[in-house]
């Protein structure tokens, strides 16, 4: 029955015991809602059919309500409403008060990504690995604007507010994957701010955590000296390189016009050039524009960009182009888990966090 209702109402799977409890209340409330709306509509129709106007001047009796009518009108719905509250609020209180033995994970939202950090490491983006069957407490904050951590499968949502922490918790009932969406509007990347909760069986989670902590330590030593994190994906490296070479002084990645064209949705975009012709901004054009910017200028922009010929090695240019290719507002990741990209825990100046 519950399964039927869940399918009927298009609810996603129930990833936790809490989700199942919430759904039961959901079915109760929605069933009553549908029945009462239908009943009111039917009553209206019935009265309409029964009491059709017979003549233009027809008089009608004055019907005054008795006290019992109004008491019923108030009492019956109020009874239902308060019952729902009485069932629903304790569930909410439960959600707000994590069990003491919950494992902590820090969640930091940022335009437009989710960062998950485990005390003692590791620390990654966009994939939250948790052990199934064990409670996990999330301490959520934001770096810029308000975001909201939303996992439909777990019936879980908590806003990430900058400057303060919020908490929520869940226990995934079995291994599986659950999509995370940002539910509080946060700008052009709002709908692409997706992540994933991966519930693993506890044994493999423990093994994974130990492995991730072990491997993050040695690489931390060689990372700051190198130009790039060897474990970072190509686009990640590209982003870092673009920052180093100062690309962001003139190019934005959020769609706003600056000194140069924005990089958002630039790849494969059809750009109008100064001479009136158009060009598709593919890899070749992007590479050319880095090496010899003056060659083909997009209409409406000045020729301000210096040439980077000989200043950026070819693999790095490739990385930057790869980065530009990822900057898409329509980026919907049907399968966002390509393996988390972990940055080492150590190697940072902890004082820089405070303003």
């Amino acid at each position: 029955m519950n399964e039927f209702m869940r399918k009927l109402l298009f609810l996603p799977e129930e990833g936790s015991a809490y989700a199942a409890e919430v759904d039961r209340l959901h079915f109760f409330v929605i069933t009553v809602t549908m029945i009462s709306a239908t009943m009111v509509a039917l009553a209206t129709l019935y009265f309409f059919v029964k009491y059709k106007r017979k003549s233009e001047t027809q008089a009608t009796p004055r019907v005054e309500p008795k006290a019992i009518h109004e008491i019923l009108f108030i009492g019956v719905p109020l009874g239902f409403f308060l019952l729902w509250f009485a069932i629903g609020f304790p569930l909410f209180v439960k959600l707000q008060n994590p069990p003491k033995d919950a494992m902590d994970v820090y969640v930091q939202a940022k335009k437009w990504m989710w960062k998950f950090s485990y005390p003692g490491g590791p620390n990654g983006t966009d994939v939250l690995r948790v052990p199934a069957g064990r409670p996990v407490r999330l301490l959520i904050t934001s770096r810029d604007v308000i975001h909201s951590f939303f996992v439909p499968d777990l019936r879980l949502k908590q806003d990430a507010v900058p400057g303060r922490y919020a908490q929520t918790w869940f226990t995934a009932s079995r291994p599986g994957r659950h999509q995370v969406l940002c539910a509080e509007y946060c700008g052009i990347g709002h709908s692409a701010m997706l992540a994933e909760v991966v519930a693993m069986d506890p044994v493999s989670f423990d093994a994974w955590l130990a492995e991730a902590r072990r491997s993050s330590v040695p690489s931390a030593q060689d990372w700051p000296g190198e130009g790039a994190d060897p474990r970072a994906t190509l686009p990640e490296q590209g982003r870092r390189l673009a920052a180093e070479y100062g690309c962001f002084k003139c190019h934005t990645v959020d769609g706003t016009r600056h000194i140069g064209p924005t990089w958002l949705d630039l790849y494969r975009k059809s750009e109008k050039l100064e001479d009136g012709s158009t060009v598709i901004a593919d890899e070749a054009y992007l590479t050319e524009s880095i090496m010899d910017p003056a060659a083909r200028i997009v209409a409406g922009y000045q020729n301000n960009m210096p040439t980077f010929q000989g200043r950026i090695p070819a693999p790095e240019i490739a990385a930057i182009v790869e980065f530009i290719k990822t900057l898409r507002t329509d980026a919907v990741h049907p399968e966002p888990s390509k393996g988390p990209v972990y940055v080492p825990v150590t190697g940072y100046d902890p004082t820089r966090a405070s303003r």
Binding site: T33, F47, A59, V63, L82, I87, S148, R155, G163, A183
Partner: protein
């Protein structure tokens, strides 16, 4: 024609008569309209203005729906899409819906219904219209110069850091707020001091009660919105951050202040709709309301309790658990007042004499949508359910059920019900029913899929979405086009009826509301002679052969 409802009026003329000297033609020229202090003309100016705003907001809505036809980009960029839904919200809420029914029908009818010649402060009334126009123009300026991408809720810190033109939009809403305050002030004072002899509080038409309750909310809530929007504008423009987390500010405080206005604002929009429905149902059923006191006082109850529930918009924001509980349980009580009204309206039909007309069709739609929308509102206030639904399409569908299914239906019912009174002519009843059916079907097709989208977890304000949400979005867009088609038909046949419609006569519905006791269109002084109000409004308990002037059929 005597305006009295009871004292033996002359036999109705065989053919309906168009009142030759009415408020529309008493004075001529543009200036006589722009400088008018006649509440009826101001009502008509609101009609024209807010309807244009509605068309604009509807255009934005259609563009949003078209964009959402495919999971990826369809016709616009993410930035344009964000502007679209912001402007759709701002235009529909601040420029159209808050002033619409009070501005048009409150202005036009409230003084007539209390037997007054005008509102208490006619100049203030005109000023209020111009403030609305100024606010709309400022907001329009902002839209043309880039628009805002914050959503109509202007949540900080996004709204204070965005590069878009959020300040003109904020100021526009601020100025419109003043207009709303002055309108409310005028209505309250009019109701208190200008009721004609014979109209005691308990004999006031229910329309007046509801508008009165609306005005109370406007007076008490709108100033808080004003100061909140000013603070955001200040923070955006000068960096004086009251809400800026970098300076120790609390973004959640903004949400508290914003919803302290914006939750009651829902009732600013819905109460006038209920006002309309209370009148339409009594006329359609030829029966006095079942439980006058219950309906009248529930309006005040909504106005009062509606203020204690704002925190239910913030269950997932980091608000304290205790506050969530307080707001949650209080929200349950506000639902009760709506339930009282719904049951009393339904019971009004009992032993009535119902005729199916276009306003009645909208009444039927309204009843279903209000019950379903209202009950889903209660479901949303059930704290733990809201955690899943907060900021998803479920919320979007819920408030569109209230706003479109409730307010727009009532607005259409009001237009169709009072059109003959306002312009003295009848529209085509057949086309009226066709478009009503189109709109009700289109509405269901648009918003029921959105409930399901919300259930399946699609957050609102999404430019692109995972493909599993695709089919329901297509259904929603299809419904929206049906809806748009229905509105277009209405615009056409109403425009035609203005010139070529059949003459309505003073009372085409055979209604015994006070406003039908005067001529159509009403003379500038509302009643040719001071009417005698010796019966309650909508008293159909005995036949009054002289009064039954029904030409609608």
């Amino acid at each position: 024609m005597s305006p009295s409802l009871a004292t033996t009026p002359p036999a109705p003329p065989a053919e309906p008569v168009y009142n030759p000297r009415n408020y529309l033609n008493a004075e001529a020229g543009i200036a006589s309209w722009l400088l008018t202090r006649d509440h009826k003309r101001i009502g008509i100016m609101y009609f024209v203005g807010t309807t244009m705003a509605f068309a604009l907001g509807g255009l934005f809505a259609m563009l949003i729906r078209i964009e959402l036809l495919t999971p990826g980009p369809t016709i616009m960029s993410a930035m344009s899409y964000n502007r679209m839904f912001t402007l759709h919200g701002v235009v529909m809420i601040f420029i159209f819906m808050i002033p619409a029914i009070p501005g048009i029908f409150g202005n036009f009818l409230l003084p007539i219904m209390v037997g007054a010649r005008d509102v208490a402060f006619p100049k203030l009334n005109l000023l209020s219209f111009y403030l609305w126009a100024a606010g709309a123009i400022i907001a329009l300026y902002g839209m043309i110069h880039g628009g805002a991408d914050t959503g109509w809720t202007f949540y900080t810190p996004y709204s204070t850091t965005t590069v878009t033109k959020v300040v003109p939009i904020l100021l526009g809403a601020f100025v419109i707020g003043f207009s709303s305050i002055l309108t409310g002030l005028n209505f309250i004072v009019t109701t208190h001091t200008l009721r004609a002899p014979g109209i005691s509080w308990m004999k006031m038409p229910l329309f007046v009660w509801s508008i009165y309750a609306t005005s109370v909310i406007q007076i008490l809530a709108t100033p808080v919105l004003g100061i909140t929007l000013l603070l955001v504008a200040f923070e955006h423009a000068f960096g004086w951050g009251v809400f800026d987390p970098a300076l120790g500010g609390d973004p959640i405080l903004f949400q508290h202040m914003f919803w302290f206005y914006s939750h009651p604002a829902v009732y600013i929009m819905v109460l006038p709709a209920m006002a309309v429905i209370s009148e339409v149902i009594q006329a359609a059923a030829r029966k006095n309301i079942f439980g006058y006191r219950a309906v009248a006082f529930s309006s005040l109850g909504i106005a009062f309790v509606g203020f204690f529930t704002w925190g239910h918009h913030m269950f997932t924001s980091g608000q304290s658990t205790l506050d969530a509980g307080v707001f949650g349980v209080l929200s349950m009580f506000v639902g009760i007042f709506t339930a009282i009204k719904v049951f009393n309206w339904t019971a009004t039909l009992y032993k009535g004499a119902v005729r199916f007309t276009t306003p009645f069709a909208y009444f039927l739609g309204f009843m279903f949508f209000l019950v379903f929308g209202g009950m889903t509102g209660i479901a949303l206030a059930t704290v733990s359910l809201d955690v899943h639904w907060q900021d998803t399409y479920f919320v979007v569908a819920h408030f569109h059920f209230i706003m479109v299914g409730g307010v727009i239906m009532a607005w259409l019912a009001a237009i169709h019900y009072w059109w003959p009174k306002m312009f003295g002519r009848l529209y085509s009843e057949g086309w009226g029913l066709v478009s009503a059916v189109l709109i009700i079907l289109g509405f269901n097709a648009t918003f029921i899929p959105q409930f399901l989208l919300g259930n399946s977890g699609m957050p609102r304000r999404y430019y692109s979405y995972p493909e599993r949400f695709w089919p329901l979005n297509v259904a929603s867009t299809a419904g929206a086009s049906l809806l748009a088609f229905g509105f277009a038909i209405i615009a056409i046949y109403l425009a035609i009826s203005l010139k070529w419609g059949k003459v309505a006569g003073p009372n085409p519905w055979g209604s015994r509301g006070y406003e039908w006791g005067t001529l159509s269109p009403p003379p500038p002084e509302n009643f040719l002679e001071q009417p005698v109000f010796d019966r309650p409004p909508h008293d159909y308990s005995e036949e009054l052969p002289g009064m039954e002037v029904t030409h609608a059929t």
